[in-house]
Amino acid sequence: MIEINNINKSFESKQILMDINGTFEKGIPNLIIGSSGTGKSVLLKCIVGLILPDTGTVNYDGREFTHASRTLKTEIRREIGMLFQGSALFDSKNVEQNVMFPLDVLTKIPLDEKLDRVNFCLKRVGLENTNKLMPSELSGGMQKRVGIARAIVNNSNYLFCDEPNSGLDPQTAILIDELIQEITVEFDITTIVVTHDMNSVMGIGEKIMFMYKGRKLWEGNKKDITHSGVPELDDFVFANKVMKSLKKQ
């Protein structure tokens, strides 16, 4: 479980995050939703420590991360896997080297064990026998899968995904969402998914935090999202015609 308290962040006098609190539970996908530019990525980067928040704390299962000592930070970092918006695969390395990379830098286990672990993870994301392909030879969906494999290869306890289905066709997007959900349940990890895609929300939204212009406006699950009573959330949810027609019924 991850807890965040009083997160504030400004960039050059422009406040991006305003007093965000929340908990993210283990074993289910936790979604952070909201339209573009509301600070979802900045919040995620504050949680994983890529950006230092101006105030606030982030607790990983009771361990305070933001102001932790370097040793503790390193220890927690070993348990973090992250899938980036554009996959962020290292383009000079092939699939196998990409997935093995966290093991190379974070562990001292022997090569054959590393290879076993890499092949296990590649198989889990449905990409057997792609070991020697380069990232540029993969489709967008396959790149995301490699990104997921790389994020979980070190037996991560925490998985962060920033817009995991951006740039994918709707069918592939759903497959990636489902993969993230399955992995979360199967390995019992704490997963945070940032998205603005209503399909993801209705598919895997067990626990949802809605953000609007740097504030958290609502929290709940996919059953309650259609009758939250929050006008900004209604605008977000019913932006699309299909959802609108559902509301009328």
């Binding site: 980067k45 994983v48 420590g49 890529l50 370097r70 930070k73 390193t74 970092r77 070993r78 973090i80 992250m82 980036f84 918006q85 554009g86 962020a88 695969l89 290292f90 383009d91 990379f101 966290p102 830098v105 974070l106």
Partner: protein, 244 residues
């Protein structure tokens, strides 16, 4: 001014929280190969022609019967070692290697590959940039030596083919009043230039923000800023080391 401050902070960052020696060893080797592939052909081509052109032009300017022919070779040698090899090749190197360093790092930045390294707890600046600087310090002086040799050989070729100077005179000329300190000076310059080009180009690439357009701009800025730094350093080093 703010940029210069940021540059020095960036340099400081390279030396904290480093990875293991063997990690760097592999990265440095990869960079050396990359630099070699990127630059050796162009450097060789430019150096050979530089020597040839200098020979022909010096001969054209020295028409006095009082000056012996072998002086042409002496002039080619001095110009090559003092200025042409370290400085002109530096400009070529900034254009080829510097721009590719900035472009590579810029792409890694905008595609979040640098963030991916940071999430794993790696000091990305040190991991990505230090090997580039070390590889430059290893490779650039070698390229300068190669360029010096080829320039002098290019001069010999041009001199012989055009009949300006006989091989024997040329050989005598390049050994005539040879000051060894010139070679030392050229090597000092090449270490300084190698460091400047690699670090400035990396700095420009590492702090790219935005998209593909900005990566292109960062590459261009890397080349222009490196060249300006080389020219300033060239002048300062000449002041410091040649006048006494």
């Amino acid at each position: 001014m703010k940029t210069i401050g940021k540059y020095f902070i960036f340099l400081g960052q390279l030396f904290v929280r480093r990875e293991t020696f063997s990690t760097y060893f592999h990265l440095v080797m990869e960079e050396c190969i990359q630099i070699g592939i990127n630059s050796i052909f162009l450097v060789a081509l430019v150096a050979t022609f530089m020597g040839a052109v200098t020979t022909v032009q010096t001969a054209y300017n020295l028409v006095s019967p009082l000056i012996p022919n072998y002086i042409i070779a002496t002039v080619v040698r001095d110009m090559t070692i003092l200025e042409l090899a370290p400085t002109i090749i530096g400009i070529i190197y900034a254009g080829k290697v510097g721009s590719s360093m900035a472009g590579g790092l810029g792409t890694m930045r905008i595609t979040e590959q640098i963030d991916a390294l940071e999430v794993m707890g790696i000091n990305s600046a040190s991991y990505l940039v230090l090997p580039k600087i070390i590889a430059s310090l290893l490779m650039y002086p070698m390229l300068v030596i190669l360029a010096g040799v080829l320039s002098i050989l290019g001069g010999a070729m041009a001199g012989t083919v055009t009949g300006i100077i006989t091989p024997a005179d040329y050989k005598y000329g390049i050994q005539y009043i040879f000051v060894e300190y010139m070679v030392e000076f050229a090597l000092i310059k090449s270490y300084v230039f190698a460091f400047l080009i690699a670090s400035i180009s990396s700095f420009k690439g590492y702090y790219t923000t935005g998209g593909a357009l900005e990566v292109g701009k960062a590459s261009t800025r890397a080349v222009t800023d490196s060249i300006i730094a080389i020219l300033i350093a060239d002048y300062l080093l000449a002041e410091m080391l040649l006048t006494s």
